[in-house]
């Protein structure tokens, strides 16, 4: 059981905000115009979707958060490159506000998807805030 009186951050929203900003700062062609969101939207070839797959409380003011990340792109090579960039950006995320640790996996290509798709997971350790 976790501590009473801790508010846990919405990490789906936080990840969308973080990745949107981090990708906007990149110069790579395959990173231009990438839409980062929680739900896939039609009509956008380059998208990153973030899904909160749960996690556990660590008994103090910290919790783990598992994110499922899908990376869609115009073609297979861009999907691979964009997924590798997203992995690196997620691993560089820990800033203490509220992410303390991040461990993103290598992405794998998803067969039978509607378009070029890569999937990766990211486990975070985050800090909550007191009431």
């Amino acid at each position: 059981m976790g501590p009473v009186g801790i508010i846990w951050p919405d990490m789906e929203a936080a990840a969308v905000g973080y990745l949107s900003g981090a990708l906007a700062d990149r110069d790579e062609l395959y990173a231009r115009g990438v839409w980062v969101t929680a739900q896939k939207e039609s009509g956008r070839a380059r998208q990153v979707t973030i899904r909160d797959d749960g996690g556990r409380l660590l008994g103090d003011v910290r919790a783990t958060v598992r994110l499922g990340v899908n990376v869609w792109a115009d073609n297979e090579s861009d999907a691979t490159a964009l997924a590798a960039l997203v992995t690196a950006l997620l691993n560089a995320w820990p800033d203490g506000k509220p992410v303390l640790r991040a461990r993103a996996t290598r992405a794998y290509p998803v067969a039978d998807a509607a378009g070029p798709l890569r999937h990766l997971t990211c486990e975070l350790v985050v800090r909550g805030t007191a009431l």
Binding site: R51, D53, G54, R56, R66, G68, N70, Y108, V110, A111, D112, A113, L117, H119, T121
Partner: protein
């Protein structure tokens, strides 16, 4: 003033490894947790034909990560489209839960 000499503690890595590899209580606990996750994954699995749900299984293996051999259990989905299901639904990831 009295003083007490404390010798450094030496971990018996070989002994720890032997325990992690052969202790039936550890094997039973690992299997029970894997079964719990597999059952939860079957509950969460999207159902169309049941092929994905029925392909969820527990595999007992020996791993040597953390530079030590130990018995672990993996929850796997063997259906050919399991990778797509995991990408779109996160079934196994969400099944880990707590």
């Amino acid at each position: 003033m009295a003083s007490v000499r404390v010798d450094p503690v030496k971990t018996d890595r070989k002994g720890v490894e032997e325990m992690l590899m052969t202790d039936p209580a550890i094997k039973k606990a690992v299997r029970a947790e894997a079964d719990r996750i597999a059952n939860r994954a079957r509950e969460l699995a999207p159902y169309v034909t049941g092929a994905y749900r029925d392909s969820i299984d527990v595999v007992e293996v020996v791993t040597s990560d953390m530079r030590m051999n130990r018995q672990i259990a993996r929850v796997v989905a063997r259906a050919p489209h399991a990778g797509r299901v995991e990408a779109l639904h996160g079934t196994l990831s969400r099944a880990i839960g707590r």
